[in-house]
Amino acid sequence: MKFTIAQEEFLRALSAASGVVPSRTTLPILSEILIETGEDGIMLSATDLDLSATIRGKASVKEPGSVTLPARRLNELIRELPPSPVHVESVGEKVSVDCDKTRFRFFGHPKADFPTFPVVGFDDDVLEIPRALFEQLVHHTTYAASTEDTRPILNGVLWEVNDEETRMVATNGHRLASYTGKRAAASKSRSNVIVPPKALTYASRIFEREETLQVAFGENQLAIRAGGNTLYTRLIEGPYPNYNQVIPQDNDKVATADRDALIKALRRMAVVASDQTHRVKLSFRESEMTLFVSTPDVGEANEKMGIDYQGEPLDIGFNAAYLLEVLKYVDGDQVKLTFKSPERAALVTPAGGNGDGRYLALVMPLRLQE
């Protein structure tokens, strides 16, 4: 194998592929990157066995071939090289990397040692989705997925595609986030899959230059492709619980507040809140809300805030961290919070126009101690 590639292009492709390389593994080959020559350049592949990616880099290929090299070392080396053409040549598993006056020799492994990638066909049933919408979906939901091992299904993000809409939903059982966008291109593809959040955030990072992403659904794999780069991820086996049943329909107490002001007030209160529960109490009265914190051994605080509130007076407790988290993803200046009672889910949505998509979040309260 023999090719020449610009240092910047090599680094870009390597950094993208390295995002998949597991930082620690008991299978040493996974810490390597597979380099293969293609039609008009090279393909860099990496996998952690759950998530795999192939990234294309523009290069001039003189002799076709393939080899694996240690990802971290190669990345560090290419990063430190001057912005000049990099010549890579391999004979068997010996690889030389020349750039300007620098010459490196590496030892790699044959392609046969590298795990084979899943096969997901892009031939039929491909969903085309604008990258911008995909990013919005991912951005507004992945944070809410569970990181506990108790219920693997909640570690994933539900991705639904029907004729009119596409939606992602994630929850850890205490708070839930959902984002819905209009289905753009008309294709026959419909889906209902549960995707590991790592794959989604990785996809929104590597496809930063593309307009449209192609998504193909396999047996228990999902593939996303654009601009010559392809990502494969294992899916989490469903079915996902019916989240629609828990979205409150009868919340009759409605508060509208300035989003930034509420975030700032909550952050101030959180300073004194318990490190374990992050408990804050919100007291809603007509046109005013008071935030209270009282933590034994630490101290107490309260803050008044002008808001628009309709409904019976309400005292309700929350984990400030959960509330802050869902507020962070509310677009627009005004946020609407609706409640039923101190033991029922609060619904958080943007108060103004919702832009192109619709974000909604549920937060379960913390029981107030008498």
């Binding site: 506990e148 059982g173 205490h174 619980p241 049943q245 408990r279 379960m364 029981r367």
Partner: protein, 362 residues
């Protein structure tokens, strides 16, 4: 199901190694980590010091006599705990099922890994790479075999044994070399004429039932045959946490004892608060100068880690016990611990503070 493959990772002279990181000029010299009080014992001795007959639990005074040129270092448990956490983190990165035993040893369940021995080597290497500390690794089909293997390979060992190899290797060794058989049991076996592991292994269970009871007896025989199916349990939830101190010279009277007890309560509550745990049972332990040990405890309504509550109850217990002899050791313990963070999740029947989404979501 695959046959089990267990590794026992045991840090070599852990406290001494940590001290040597700070004082590399002591490398190669006999170093002993021990308290300075008249009743202190050695917690760890470097391999150089062990040649002089200084081991863990040797009284510090005797250690000084046996090896006057040794460098004596005061134990610094905060640092040992931190370094231990570094080591355990490396282990957990490599292997999912890790059972931590104290600060310097752990069992790893390698059963489902494709290449268990290679994984264990990688772990041993990674521990040295990442922490600079050296461990010995023993591998076997059970925790027991893994443990004797790690011990037999020390220092810097890597030893794989099957149960049959362990039986052969330790056949002529005294039964006391098997973890789980303590000095009293070993002495009793010796009086019965059972002086080797092989002899114990060959002893019929009924001969052991009489002196040791129906459960312990056969269990001793199984140990000697290296039969052990104790699983690697990653979560060992501490049920209690305690602090105790042996006084340099015995203390007399409540006035002298209460400040000592208060200090122990402060230390204990700080640790509970840091780890987010509370307990409902508060107990004290008193050892008098005749070596009699007494405990008193009280269970309260709600779990606490509040230092004023713990102090109050501990001091009340001490006052009502009112030791009539000089006190050698004093301890405080909070038991029935619950994890505050976990309590926000699910703990069968307990009222939960953080409410959950309704079914079917959870």
């Amino acid at each position: 199901m695959n046959p089990r493959c267990i590794a026992h990772v045991d840090m070599d002279a852990f406290y001494v190694s940590v001290e040597l990181e700070r004082r590399p000029e002591l490398r190669g010299r006999p170093v002993v980590v021990a308290g300075s009080g008249p009743r202190a014992v050695v917690t760890t001795a470097s391999y150089e010091a062990r040649k002089f007959g200084v081991f863990s639990a040797t009284p510090a005074a005797r250690a000084r006599r046996r090896c006057p040129e040794a460098v004596f270092v005061e134990p610094d448990f905060a640092t040992y705990r931190a370094r231990s956490a570094d080591v355990m983190a490396v282990l957990r990165e490599h292997v999912e099922r890790v059972e931590v035993m104290g600060l310097d040893e752990a069992y790893l369940d390698l059963t489902d890994l494709p290449q268990p021995q290679a994984a264990a080597r990688a772990v041993k290497h990674a521990v040295r790479e990442r922490t600079g500390l050296v461990c010995s690794v023993g591998i076997g089909p059970s925790k027991l075999v893994a443990k004797v293997a790690s011990d037999a390979g020390k220092p810097d060992g890597f030893l794989v044994l099957t149960a049959a190899e362990a039986r052969a290797r330790f056949a002529d060794a005294p039964p006391g070399c098997i973890p789980g058989i303590g000095p009293k049991t070993a002495a009793k076996l010796d009086r019965m004429g059972i002086g080797t592991v092989a002899a114990l292994a060959a002893t019929a269970d009924d001969r052991l039932v009489d002196p040791f009871g129906p459960r312990l007896g056969p269990w001793l025989g199984a140990l000697a045959r290296f039969e052990d199916d104790d699983p690697v349990e990653p979560v060992r939830v501490a049920k209690s946490e305690s602090r105790e101190t042996t006084f340099d010279s015995d203390l007399n009277g409540l006035e002298a004892l209460e400040p000592a007890l208060t200090a122990l309560c402060d230390d204990l509550c700080a640790a509970l608060r840091d780890s987010g745990r509370r307990g409902r049972t508060i107990g004290i332990k008193i050892r008098l100068n005749d070596f009699s040990t007494h405990t008193r405890a009280r269970t309260i309504e709600g779990a606490t880690h509040d230092v004023t509550v713990v102090r109050g109850i501990a001091c009340e217990l001490l006052r009502s016990f009112d030791p009539q002899r000089p006190v050698r050791l004093l301890g405080v313990r909070v038991a029935g611990l619950e994890d505050v963070v976990a309590d926000c999740r699910d703990r069968g029947g307990e009222p939960q503070e953080q409410l959950k989404l309704p079914p079917p979501m959870v």
